[in-house]
Amino acid sequence: MSLPTPASGLSRRRFLASSTGAALALAAAPSLFAVGTGETAARDRPLRLAMIGFGAQGRVLVEALLKVPDVRIVALCDMWDYARVYGERLLKSNGLEVTGYRDVEELLAKEKDLDAAIIATPDVFHAPHTIACLRAGLHVYCEKMMSNTVEGARSMVVAMRETGRLLQIGHQRRSNPRYLVTRDRVLGEARLAGRITGAQAQWNRAVSEDLGWPKKAAIPADVLAAYGYPDMHTFRNWRWFKKFGGGPLSDLGAHQIDVFNWFLGRLPSTVIASGGNDFYKNHEWFDNAMVIYEFPLAEGTARAFYQVQTTTSSGGGYWEQFMGNEGTVRISENPNSTVFYREAAAPSWEEWVRKNYLRANAAPAPEPGAKVDARETAALATYRLPVVTNKAIHQYHLENFFQAIRGRTKLNCPADEAFRSEYVIFKAIEAVESRRLVTIEEPVI
């Protein structure tokens, strides 16, 4: 058994269909616009989906998919029988009879009426699985990171352009209304931060045990070897191994560094970073990393600091914040960690309160003796974002993907845009490993 190759498992009909689509798509900028007239039939009927990869992230996506109207999972693929059978039972309990597959190649060979594939396999398989699905004529939603290598990620963009299919990458914050309002209204229209001079983001997690597995569910060694795994421990903890994943900067940082690029509207010019494999002795990837990017904005340089720590949960959760001379905007997928700070000298924010872009919090009572240095800045007034999310955090991004398939909108995170953003994460990893300042050029596809 071998990893799926881009050209394998294609029927002649699918090959012809995807080749024709590719020719049309090269001129149609498929990542930016909805699919063409050949897809009109998909506008109103339920979309038929294949779920490829049913690990922890796959389950999160399936839970969200079950809440999306007019989509139906009809095939489920995972190399681990234990996970796949669990998934089949879960879907059956939700009224969905699915066909299970161990191999993507077999799935694509047998399932002829699919509209799209949702891919949540380990990073190393994203490129081969995505490319195989695109070449089979499917639209693809693939989890981030696109790949554990720049070359792998680039090949996905090339395949998207060649096939003319849609390829959405799972940076789900880009479809989250709370992030969209913060970016477009709070920082954009209202310019509440003023001139942005700094940004900061973090994701700190407490020490955790490596993932285990029921001994009776262990995958035979020859099957593991066929997929490149030396043992079950590596299979279950692939995120920590360089052959399969990209480490914490990729797993956690990808979301948040993407927000730096997305909110600031450009890529950084340089990066310095430090990280190390200091705590876990049986992992390859570093467990903690600290990164500083420089963003040459039109108004001046802004520096963005990112830290990911997997050995402490201290430091106040996970969030991204943008700091300017008039205010600071801290946003998180967790609404409780979202807060805006108004500098004392900033213009009034009342207009934006009236427009429902923010709400004022009650001012805390002054604490006698709290100020110990005359140079301390007084505590800032705080505001909150009144936007609520009534759906699972991945559901918005999945719905955007399905609406794009139906030709009703454009993708919020097409692969070419995601590739540019993820490129700077690869550069941060390069900076950690080289221990030097790394210059970031516009990535070439």
Partner: protein, 172 residues
């Protein structure tokens, strides 16, 4: 045959009673009506400057004050809990008292404002405030006791001026 004394329209006592009637009536009416109010949070689309829904599909939470029978709450939960824990307050009377309090304040307030059975309304109001005061005394809320004492004082003053009552539906 006795004749009723003629009360001048702009007699100072008449105006004093009218003022107290107005104040105490509004006070009772509004307090009763407020017991049927609640602050609820509703969700609606975020609108842009053009009045159209924001393209992000954002839904915002807006807090609104609403009135309705379903929102009736005679006493704040914190006060109700303290009353329930007080051994000298008969527990079996709590529910009927709470059920009556809001409607009673509204009815008594309307009686005073319109001028129906003013003496009776004032006396009933005084009793109601006194009963409330007993509860506050038992749980040691002295500020509330003083607050209600002012109300009872105003009721007593009004009763002492009740013979100067004018502009009423009934004379009593």
């Amino acid at each position: 045959m006795s004749t009723s004394p003629v009360i001048p329209v702009f007699n100072g006592r008449t105006l004093a009673f009218l003022s107290l009637r107005l104040w105490l009536g509004l006070r009772a009416l509004i307090t009763g009506v407020e017991k049927f109010s609640a602050r609820i949070t509703i969700q609606e689309p975020l609108l842009g400057a053009d009045g159209k829904a924001d393209p992000s599909g954002a839904i915002i939470e807006i807090e609104r004050k609403v009135y309705g029978l379903s929102h009736y709450n005679a006493l704040p939960d914190s006060l109700r809990t303290k009353f329930a824990e007080e051994p000298l307050l008969p527990a079996f009377l709590m529910s009927p008292f709470c059920a009556v309090l809001g409607p009673a304040l509204i009815i008594l307030g309307l009686f005073l404002l319109v001028g129906v059975a003013s003496r009776f309304a004032l006396f009933a109001m005084g009793v109601l405030y006194t009963v409330l005061t007993v509860g506050l005394m038992l749980i040691g809320q002295d500020a509330g006791v003083s607050w209600l004492a002012i109300h009872v004082g105003l009721v007593a003053l009004a009763l002492s001026l009740a013979d100067a009552n004018r502009y009423t539906v009934t004379r009593a």
